[in-house]
Structure formats: structure tokens, C-alpha cells
């Protein structure tokens, strides 16, 4: 049986019990990704709909928005690749994830007691993880095709038309996934400290990731 425990995860007995969930490196990595994603969404939306063109002012005008957006995309791609390498193992799909998902109603009505015990990530988090991974691959690929300044001559106009449509559509989906991600962190109280200070309380881990907590206690936490 594989363990979900990631490097640096550790339990500190006390009142309350504190659990290390994300290392400093993982948090820095996460916030670089987060900042890039927000900047990409703002600059991308500015060029997506005329009513949002005013957002280009945040980046110093339309031309700089056009110039900087792809570069932020490159930063996001590599930054997210870092997160992917860190987190993908604990995000592999297991049978209880399907069971958890089937209890969707209990999830949104906060009936934790009816849900199977979950490891470091629940099925919802895993879906966010994998959909973002796929979306970012599609976005960087289609983005390169429409990065006219450097890649203009390498693609036909028809390829660029397909790419721009795919890019815009997938970006909309990515923004929606991002909203779900942020909302879940706000709704499930006690979550945000995992990414700010790296720690959650034992109670939070007991309630939402009991299997992970048990593994930390009984298993072989990687020091």
C-alpha cells in the first residue's frame, strides 16, 4: 500500500496538534505559480473581451500586455512543472477517490462522517491537480502557436486560428478550475495556513485527511 506522505510532512504533538503539510520550497513554488496565474488571467481577459480591455492599464498598456503575457506563461509553465514533480505521486488516483466522488452530495453538505478516509489529497483536489496539469500543457502549446513575435512564421494562419480558439476556451476552463480551488480553500476553514505557514492543525487533518494523519502517526514519516 502506497503512502501519501510527502517529503517534510510531520506531526507535532501539542495543543492543538500541528502538522507540517508544505515545505518552504513547496510554498514558494506554489505562490510563484499563483501569482503568474492571476497575472495571466488578468492580462488574458484584457485581450479576450473588449469590456475588460481596461485591465491592460495594470500592465502598462495594450502593447506591454501583449508582450508580457506569453513570458508570464513561460514562468507559470516551469513553476507549475515544479509543483507537478512535487505533488503528482500523492495525486495518483486510488479506488477510494471514486467512492469519495460518488458521495459528492455529502462533500458539499459537509457530511464528512459519511465519506471514506482520505490521504493527503481528496478526489476533488486531485481533479483540480490533474485538470490544471492538462490545461497548462494545452495552454502553453496553443500559446506558442499564437506567440506571433517569435513563432509567427512557423505556423499557418489556419493553425493559428485553431490555436487561438483552443487557447481562449481552455483559459476560461482554467479560470473556473482556479475559482473552485480558491473557493474550496476558503470554504474549508483552516486550509489556507497550509500554504501560508506550511502547517495545519491536527483537527483539520483528522477531519479532512484522516488516512494521511494516521500514516503520519503510525507509518514511517519521511524525515
Amino acid at each position: 500500500m502506497s503512502t501519501d506522505v510527502e517529503r517534510g510532512d510531520q506531526i507535532h504533538p501539542g495543543d492543538p496538534v500541528l502538522v507540517d503539510r508544505y515545505t518552504t520550497g513547496a510554498r514558494i513554488n506554489h505562490w510563484i505559480t499563483a501569482a503568474s496565474l492571476v497575472l495571466l488571467a488578468l492580462s488574458g481577459l484584457a485581450l479576450f473581451h473588449p469590456s475588460l480591455y481596461f485591465l491592460t492599464a495594470l500592465f502598462g498598456g495594450g502593447e506591454t500586455t501583449r508582450a508580457i503575457h506569453p513570458w508570464i506563461g513561460v514562468v507559470l509553465f516551469f513553476s507549475f512543472a515544479g509543483l507537478f514533480i512535487r505533488f503528482f505521486k500523492a495525486n495518483l488516483w486510488v479506488r477510494t477517490d471514486t467512492v469519495w466522488l460518488a458521495h459528492g452530495r455529502d462533500v458539499i453538505t459537509s457530511h464528512e462522517e459519511k465519506l471514506p478516509e482520505v490521504g493527503k489529497y481528496n478526489a476533488g483536489q486531485k481533479l483540480v491537480f490533474w485538470s490544471m496539469s492538462l490545461l497548462i500543457i494545452v495552454l502553453i502549446t496553443s500559446g506558442l502557436v499564437i506567440w506571433d513575435q517569435y513563432f509567427g512564421p512557423y505556423f499557418t494562419v489556419e493553425q493559428k486560428r485553431i490555436a487561438v480558439l483552443v487557447h481562449a476556451t481552455m483559459a476560461v476552463v482554467a479560470i473556473c478550475v482556479w475559482i473552485v480551488h480558491v473557493y474550496a480553500a476558503i470554504w474549508v476553514r483552516g486550509t489556507i495556513s497550509a500554504m501560508t505557514r506550511g502547517q495545519v492543525t491536527g483537527g483539520w487533518a483528522w477531519r479532512h485527511h484522516r488516512k494521511w494523519l494516521k500514516e503520519l502517526v503510525t507509518g514511517s514519516p519521511k524525515k
Binding site: I175, R189, W206, V217
Partner: protein, 312 residues
């Protein structure tokens, strides 16, 4: 002969059209003027063109453009494609007519067609970077252009080109809007020695084309016709072709140009559906929080965790 446009009055004259005559403005909504100006058109009679490139030179000169000295690749085409500085280009095709086995040298002056329904303008995200005047001229406004290249994706004729410098902007034929505004014809028309290029109101140009087509038919070109494609609601640059039934033989002139359905989807449905979906997702979160409330860790959870940790 087409009666040549008179030489200009050298006295300064106020422009005949301007901001108040816009019928379309990229990424903006404009109130169209109550009265539309007479539509203008440039008619390019391919059958009269001798390929001298005077029009190309006149375009460079009037618009103060400088093309790099290129290389010869075995074609008269020079440069080899439209560029940010070459807004019009003679395209040469050697075509063997399968009916007569004659070699026909087809020469087409390529450049912006000034579509009545301009795809470039539809695709442009920068307010006011592309405008269409009520006389039909589609113009790029450099100050508002951000160099994104969306116009290239919108154009059914593959015309706009982005400059490769520290300040990338999109360029194409302006139909010499500055000259037309003071009652002149475009520079290319002025320079054409055979009147293969004529300029006037769209109605006059169609009428003139009719006469030319009748003449061509009487000489055995029974497929001669006018190229004014309905897929883009007509154009303000039209061609007289000797083989109007196969426009593709003229260096790939599209037989049935229209704004790509991909562009329609991107700039139509997706624009609204996308923002709608984002708003709905955010709203769903808000409603859920109001209805279900926060998911808090209970005192029991902490106690359970403490008990579990104690067993370590």
C-alpha cells in the same frame, strides 16, 4: 479609356471623411452616422495589367515605406510576399490553360480587399486599432495597434503583416485613405500606366467592370467576370478576371472567402459564454457559502487528533 481623375487642387481642403464617419471600430461599439457616404472602390483589371510594378513603387513612395533589397528566386515576384512595408504586391502565375494549351501569364496585384465585413476588425482586441469608414475603407490606426496579430487570424485573404522590430505593429494597404479624404485616388491607381487600376464609387466601378467583361467575352473569354465576393458582403477592392470561374489560379485568390467559422466562434459565442461560465462558477461558490456555510474543524476533531498523536 476611363476618364482620369482630375489633378488635385493645390489649395488645402478639409478631409471629406473622418472619425464621425466610422461604421465599425474594433473592440468598441459606435453609433453609425445617420447618412452613409458613397461607397468607394478600387477596380483592378487583371486583364489589362502588364506587371510593371509601378503601383508597387507608387505605394512605397506615397506611404514612405522602404523595402529591403531582396534576392531572386526565379520569379518576378519581388519581394516574395507581402511585408509590413510592401502593402501591395504583384503576384505572377504561369498557368497552362487546359482548353487551349496556351501558357497564360496571370498577374494579380495583391493587397487588402477592404471587405465590407472585415475579419481583421472583428478579431482585433484593441479599441480603435482597426476602423471602417462609411465609404467602405478599412484602415489600421497605428497608435492603437498592440501588435498581437489577431487581425492575421481574422483576415480571409492573409493580408496584414506585423513588423519585426522593437515596436511590432500590423500594417496593410490603407486604400490611401489620406488621399481619398481630399478627393484623390490611391497612389497605385495614379501610377498605373494602362488603367488596369481605376478608382471611383463602387457603383461606377461595377458599371465600368461590366463594360470590360462584355469586351472580354466578345474576345473569347467567356468566363470573364467581376470578383466582388459575397462571403464578406463584397469588397471595396474588386478584380476583373478573365477566368472568374477559377479565381484560385490567380496565385491562390480564394474562390469563396469568408470570415473563418473558428474566428466567428472565438469572437462570437465564446466571448459571452466564457465570461458567463466564469461568473457562474464564482456565483456558485458564493451561493454555496451562503447556503452551506463554512466547513469548520470541531473541538472533537482536535481532541481526536490529540488522542491519535498521543498514541505515537
Amino acid at each position: 479609356m476611363f476618364p482620369p481623375l482630375p489633378n488635385p487642387n493645390v489649395q488645402p481642403v478639409p478631409p471629406k471623411f473622418g472619425e464621425q464617419d466610422l461604421i465599425r471600430r474594433s473592440a468598441s461599439t459606435v453609433t453609425p452616422p445617420a447618412k452613409r457616404q458613397t461607397e468607394v472602390a478600387k477596380l483592378i483589371d487583371v486583364t489589362k495589367c502588364i506587371g510593371c510594378k509601378a503601383c508597387q513603387v507608387a505605394c512605397l513612395e506615397w506611404n514612405n515605406l522602404h523595402e529591403e533589397v531582396g534576392i531572386n528566386t526565379g520569379s518576378y515576384e519581388n519581394p516574395h510576399d507581402l511585408t509590413p512595408d510592401t502593402w501591395t504586391l504583384m503576384r505572377f502565375t504561369e498557368w497552362v490553360n487546359p482548353e487551349t494549351q496556351n501558357l497564360e501569364w496571370l498577374i494579380r496585384k495583391d493587397g487588402c480587399m477592404h471587405c465590407e465585413d472585415p475579419g481583421c476588425l472583428k478579431a482585433c482586441p484593441a479599441p480603435g486599432a482597426i476602423v471602417q469608414y462609411s465609404n467602405g475603407i478599412v484602415d489600421f490606426v497605428k497608435e492603437n495597434c498592440i501588435g498581437c496579430g489577431y487581425c492575421i487570424k481574422g483576415c480571409p485573404f492573409n493580408i496584414p503583416r506585423i513588423s519585426k522590430n522593437e515596436d511590432p505593429k500590423s500594417y496593410k494597404c490603407s486604400l490611401c485613405s489620406d488621399r481619398v479624404a481630399v478627393g484623390l485616388g490611391p497612389a497605385c491607381q495614379k501610377a498605373c500606366p494602362t488603367q488596369a487600376i481605376v478608382f471611383g464609387t463602387k457603383d461606377d466601378m461595377k458599371q465600368w467592370a461590366d463594360g470590360r467583361i462584355k469586351d472580354l467575352k466578345s474576345r473569347g473569354f467567356d468566363k470573364a467576370g467581376l470578383y466582388d465576393p459575397p462571403g464578406v458582403s463584397g469588397t471595396h477592392v474588386m478584380y476583373v478576371l478573365h477566368h472568374a470561374d477559377k479565381p484560385e489560379i490567380y496565385a491562390g485568390l480564394p474562390a469563396n472567402p469568408r470570415i473563418s467559422p473558428l474566428v466567428d466562434l472565438w469572437k462570437g459565442g465564446l466571448k459571452y459564454a466564457g465570461l458567463g461560465l466564469i461568473a457562474l462558477t464564482a456565483l456558485a461558490g458564493f451561493v454555496h457559502h451562503v447556503v452551506a456555510g463554512p466547513n469548520r474543524v470541531s473541538r472533537d476533531d482536535e481532541e481526536n487528533a490529540k488522542r491519535l498523536a498521543g498514541r505515537q
